[in-house]
Each structure stands twice: as structure tokens, then as C-alpha cells.
Symmetry: C2
């Protein structure tokens, strides 16, 4: 009981500062996730050291508690991303969204990997950086579009559809590079097997799960425990995360699938509302503790700030060109909106970087550069997107398929 009192104090500091920062960034009309990350950077052991947050290389009792809290926050976050994703959107995703997604994934991956490999970094490090540049953050993109009130616009639909496909590809890339690194090198056969298992697990769970849930949700109303739909949802979230982990996949893939399955059920809207408090409570821990791992000192070492700027530039260029070309034929302004809208990176980039750092696959300077990239791409987009929509809103027509 005495040791846990100190942990409660740390939880209090993390939670209060994260929410205070979120409030400030909300008022600045910037994504609150940036505030949570910056709080982590500020209070982490590399900076103020206000909170006894662990470094990744320590594995004592306290350290592991924070890892589990961060993992729980991450699982809940991906569960929510899944809840916002309809299986229909995945299955019916138009050519346009798919083109934007594939090109927007391929170009940043190629640019990041090629740059790192050509500058003398090991293959695994190069592939990790490529993978970290892949994923657009669904949450940040959607929230920016919602803040602008343009969720119904043609470009917003394409972006949302592409973000969904993009997220799946990024999760597969994460699984692939994780598997590769465990093998100690690049094993293409292993990657293909892993990708096949991942695709099979994702497809089977999503398709079969949806039908089972539709049938099972009839019974949820008969359960007598309070908040039965929420309880079943949380159980599915934990269960699929655990199964994914047992299969060697990332646990968050299971949480994402649980969200997708439940998004199809009739309880979907209630679930988002009901689970929101758990989101508010746990998710900030992931971002604060991720920020706490950033070692600002690495930027003073020769070349790291340069590396961060180059990686950020490649991240912006890759999405801008890749997604923009994916929108070829829609006009220059729409292509620009698609490109800019897909630029924000988020949770997946951190995850890739965290996994890579934990496995010793990337150095501290590369990790810090990737986190810098995630923050920078997230910070720069909202004002630019606002400007583009402000200029073009008069021309917008809420079209059908494209």
C-alpha cells in the first residue's frame, strides 16, 4: 500500500498536467495530443524529472507499471479508432481512397527507407524509419476535419476512407518490421508469412466477428449486470488484444479489430459514449509516457536536429506527393487538400519508434527524430488545412462517389 501511494502521486501529476496541456492546446485550436506529448517531454527523466517515469532500458517494478499503463492507454485508443471505422467503409472503399492510401503509404516508406539506407544506416533501422513515416493518424485527421466542419466534403470522405486503409497497411508494416527485427535481419519469407497471418487474422476476425457480434448482441440486452454492452466490449478489446499478442502480432491490432467489430453492432454509438471516460482516463498516459522518452539532449549531439528536419521533410513530401497524385484528376486544390490532410502522423509512428527503441533497432537520435516528425507534422497541418478550406469552401460541392 505504501509503494502504491507514490505511484498514485505520479498518476496524479501525469493526469493533471496532461489535461491542463490539453485545455491549453484546445484553446489554441491545436490537437490536444501535442500538449500531452510536450508535457511528457517536459516532466520526463531527461528534462525536469518531475515524475519517476522509467527509461526503456530499466525493467524494475515501477518501470513495468508505467509500461502497462501506457499499453492500456494505447489499446483503448486503437479500440476507439476501430469504433470509428465501419467495416462497410473498408469493404466498399472506393478506388480513389485506395489509390490515395497506397501511394501515400508507399512513397513515404520508400523515401524514409532509401534516405536512411543511403546515409549508411543499417537495414533494420532504415526499414523502421520507413514504417514510422507510413501512417496518417485517423484521430487527428478526423478531429481537424470535424473542427473545420467539413466532414461532409468530397475530399474529407476520400481522406477518411484512405486513412482507414492506411491504418491497416501501417499496422501490417509495424508487424512486419517487428518480426524482421526479432529475426535479427531482413527475412523476406518471414515477412510474407507474418503479413499473411496478419491479413488472415484481420480478415477472419473482422468478417466472422461482425456476424457473431450481430447475433450475440441480441443477448446483451438479457444480461443483468450494469453496463453489459460496455462490459462485453471491454472484454472483447482485452481478449482480442491478448489473442493478437499470443499470435505474435501487436496487441493493438486486436484492440483495433474489436473496435471495428463493435462499430457494426447496434450498440456502436452507445459504446463510444459509454467508453469515453475510460478513454479520457487512460489514453493520456500513453502520450505523456511516450513524450517522457524523448531525450532532448540528443538534439545537441551533432546532426540529430538535422536528421529530425530531414525525416520531417520526407514525411511531409511523401504524403503531399503520394496522396496528391492519388487524387489526380480532381483538380489542383483538391489534390492539395488530400495531400495536406494525410500529412499528420500520430500514434502509429510513436508505436513503431517505441518498439524499435525497445528492441535496440534504432538509436536514441533516430527515435527522437521520429517523435519530432510526429509532433511537427501534426502541428503544421491544422492551420494549413483551415486556410485551404477557407479559400475553397465556396467551391465545394458535396458530391457522391468519385
Amino acid at each position: 500500500m505504501e509503494e502504491t501511494a507514490g505511484v498514485l502521486l505520479d498518476f496524479f501529476i501525469i493526469f493533471v498536467l496532461a489535461k491542463a496541456a490539453a485545455e491549453v492546446f484546445q484553446r489554441l485550436r491545436q490537437p490536444t495530443v501535442i500538449g500531452e506529448l510536450l508535457v511528457g517531454v517536459a516532466i520526463g527523466p531527461h528534462a525536469l524529472g518531475l515524475v519517476d517515469v522509467p527509461l526503456l532500458d530499466t525493467h524494475g517494478g515501477l518501470s513495468f507499471v508505467y509500461e502497462v499503463m501506457a499499453e492500456l492507454g494505447l489499446v483503448v485508443l486503437l479500440f476507439f479508432v476501430g469504433l470509428e471505422t465501419r467495416l462497410d467503409d473498408l469493404l466498399r472503399v472506393g478506388r480513389r481512397s485506395l489509390a490515395v492510401a497506397v501511394l501515400g503509404v508507399a512513397l513515404p516508406f520508400a523515401l524514409g527507407t532509401a534516405f536512411m539506407a543511403s546515409t549508411g544506416h543499417p537495414n533494420t533501422e532504415a526499414l523502421f524509419v520507413g514504417a514510422a513515416l507510413v501512417a496518417t493518424s485517423v484521430g487527428i485527421t478526423a478531429r481537424v476535419l470535424r473542427d473545420l466542419g467539413v466532414l461532409g466534403s468530397k475530399e474529407a470522405r476520400i481522406i477518411l476512407g484512405a486513412a482507414v486503409a492506411d491504418d491497416i497497411l501501417a499496422l501490417l508494416a509495424l508487424t512486419a518490421v517487428t518480426q524482421m527485427d526479432q529475426e535479427g535481419g531482413v527475412d523476406v519469407g518471414e515477412v510474407i508469412v507474418t503479413a499473411a497471418v496478419a491479413v488472415a487474422f484481420v480478415a477472419f476476425t473482422a468478417l466472422v466477428g461482425t456476424r457473431v457480434v450481430r447475433r450475440y448482441s441480441l443477448h446483451l440486452e438479457r444480461l443483468q449486470i450494469p453496463n453489459a454492452p460496455l462490459v462485453v466490449a471491454l472484454a472483447l478489446m482485452l481478449g482480442l488484444s491478448a489473442v493478437a499478442g499470443e499470435l505474435g502480432l501487436a496487441g493493438i491490432i486486436g484492440a483495433f479489430l474489436a473496435g471495428i467489430i463493435l462499430a457494426e453492432s447496434r450498440e456502436q454509438l452507445q459504446l463510444e459514449r459509454r467508453a469515453q471516460p475510460i478513454y479520457e482516463f487512460l489514453v493520456p498516459f500513453f502520450f505523456v509516457l511516450t513524450g517522457a522518452k524523448v531525450d532532448l539532449g540528443t538534439f545537441s549531439e551533432g546532426g540529430t536536429i538535422g536528421l529530425a528536419l530531414v525525416i520531417t521533410g520526407l514525411a511531409v513530401l511523401g504524403k503531399l506527393v503520394g496522396c496528391g497524385v492519388g487524387g489526380y484528376g480532381l483538380g489542383r486544390r483538391s489534390m492539395l487538400i488530400l495531400g495536406v490532410g494525410m500529412v499528420p502522423r500520430g500514434e502509429i509512428g510513436f508505436v513503431v519508434a517505441s518498439v524499435a527503441l525497445a528492441q535496440g533497432a534504432v538509436g536514441a537520435n533516430v527515435f527522437s527524430s521520429v517523435v519530432f516528425m510526429s509532433i511537427a507534422t501534426t502541428l503544421v497541418v491544422p492551420p494549413v488545412l483551415s486556410m485551404l478550406y477557407g479559400r475553397s469552401r465556396a467551391l465545394e460541392v458535396d458530391g457522391g462517389r468519385c
Copy 2:
């Protein structure tokens, strides 16, 4: 990430079995908390060993994660007990409730302590057992009365008022015996100081906190982060728990005070509704992990089952006589209802036993006996109370003060 996957699997097993047991006990019209405890007993390391739940004497990384999860669940539970407690009820509590509470606390404490001391147990162990017999479970009592639909009856009001005072006394007793044991013996001066600090902290926080919150809650509406009232409530819960811990008090006293303070604010009803998902998610961990600590093997050792039955008998007798006498003049049936209604023990008893076990102040046989007492007193009351109300409901008049 890999280690945390195993923890997610354990969380899944704990959560699903706890909720399944809750569903079963809900259908049996029994308190669901019993189901969660029994699940813990069944899957714990002393029985099936399904989950790698730690014993208290281990302090590795995994073990500490479970301790923190259980502590978080406990903090949330006491926060909710506080939310259900109006400061007005505490301040305006009638003589009758106070008499029932004081006698109902004093007699079980005296009986438990005297029995243990007279049978050759050390003073600290005797005082811990006395303290463990003190507290009626507000939650269980209130839920049984609500299930019976008699929350408005005269006896129910007295019981609820007494349960509130009883809870405060029990929390003070817990703090007192915890402090004593840290000193390695009975230090009356230390107990008085601790009690004074506890009373001052509780009184100051409750009285000043209420006014501050009333003023502050005006600002909550101006906050722009989602679920601002919930966020502030969780911050207060964590913050007061941490402050209580820093003062050397039990952290849950702070959580209880946070609940009492916020019960007075206009957000009270919304808070209970909003925080409910966090309750559903975290609270079962405390009860399952508490149950997992029960070593059924100790009952096979000579005398433990006898000890458990004697302690349970004293627990029932103490409340039945103490609270019954507190209701003297209301008639035999009302006195019986008051006595029976105050019999269920709950979370506080487990907390005292857990603290005592962690500090090595009580043996495994005494710990198991106290947990047995908590389960037995909780199990026996609902049917008896139903019977008493069934027979007497025709005679009930919803009177005013008594």
C-alpha cells in the same frame, strides 16, 4: 511490448471471469461482489493458478502491476462511496443514526479484539481483527435495500445515515491500526495524534473542499476539453488520494473525501453516470485480486475453520446487538432490521486484512478468516432482510425523524 501482452491476457481472464460471476450472482439476486471474490479464490495461485497473480510476499515487476491495479480499483470504489454520501447527511446525522453507528462500531471492535487477545494473539493482530469487524459496507447495504425497494423506509434511512458515520469511524480505525503496526506495537499517543490528523484532514478537506468546489464548478463549464467535469473529478480523486498518502493516511480516505466533496456539486449525478465505466473496468480487479490472496489450504490446518466461524459469529453478534440497542425504543422488529441491515461487511474489512497481511501483522489463517467473515456476512443478509421486510412491510409507516 512483449511482456505487457501477457499482462493483457491476465487482465482479460480476470475481467471476463469477474463479470461472468457477477452476472451469475445478479441472477441469483446476490451481491455481485461475492462472485468476484470467489473468482479470485478459484483462479488464484493457491487454487487453480489460472492467473499469475502475485502473492503479497513477492515484489517483482508483475506483482507490483497487480497491486497498482487493485489499488486503483479500490480508490475508484471509495470515490464512488463518497459520491453517494452527502456532506449534509454527515453533518445533520440524527442522534439515532449516530447511536446505531457508534454502538455498531464499538461492540464488534471490542468483541473481536477481546476474543483475539484472550486467546493468546498479539495485541496488533487482535486490534487488526477488531478493526476488520467494524465497517458495514455502504454499497452492499444500500444495494440490498434498493433491491428490496425499501430505501424510503424509516429503518433504511437510519441504516444509511449510520453506515456513513460507520464508514468514517472505520477509516479512522484503519488509519489508527496501520500507524500502530508501523511503530511495532501499541502506541496510544501516536494513535491519538494520527486520529487527530485524520479528523482534521477529513474535516478541513470536506468543509473547505465543498466551498471551493462550489465556486470552482462554475468554471468547469468554461473548460474546453471533453468531459471536463469528469476529468476534474478524476484529478481530485487521484490528488487527494496522493495527499492522504503523503500525510501517512490511507490513500482511499482521500478518494472518499474527493467523492464527498463532489457529491455536493451540481455535477454529482452526471459524475456518477460519467465515471461508471471506469468503475466497471477497474473495481473488479480489487475484489478478484483480494480473493486470489485467500489460501484455502489454511482452512485444512487445525483450527482455522473454527477461527473463521468464531470471527464471523462475533461479527454478526456485534452488529446485531450493537445496532439493535442503538435502535432501542423503536420496537423489536425495527431493532432487528437495524441490526441485520448493518451486518454486511465489505471492502473496508478486506482493506484492513490486506494492510495487516502486507505488514505481517496477521497470519494467513487470520487473513483468510476475515475474508471468510466478509463473504459470509454479506451472503447471509439479503435473504434475512428480505424476510424481515416481507413480514413487516404492511406495518411500515414512512415516518419523519426518529
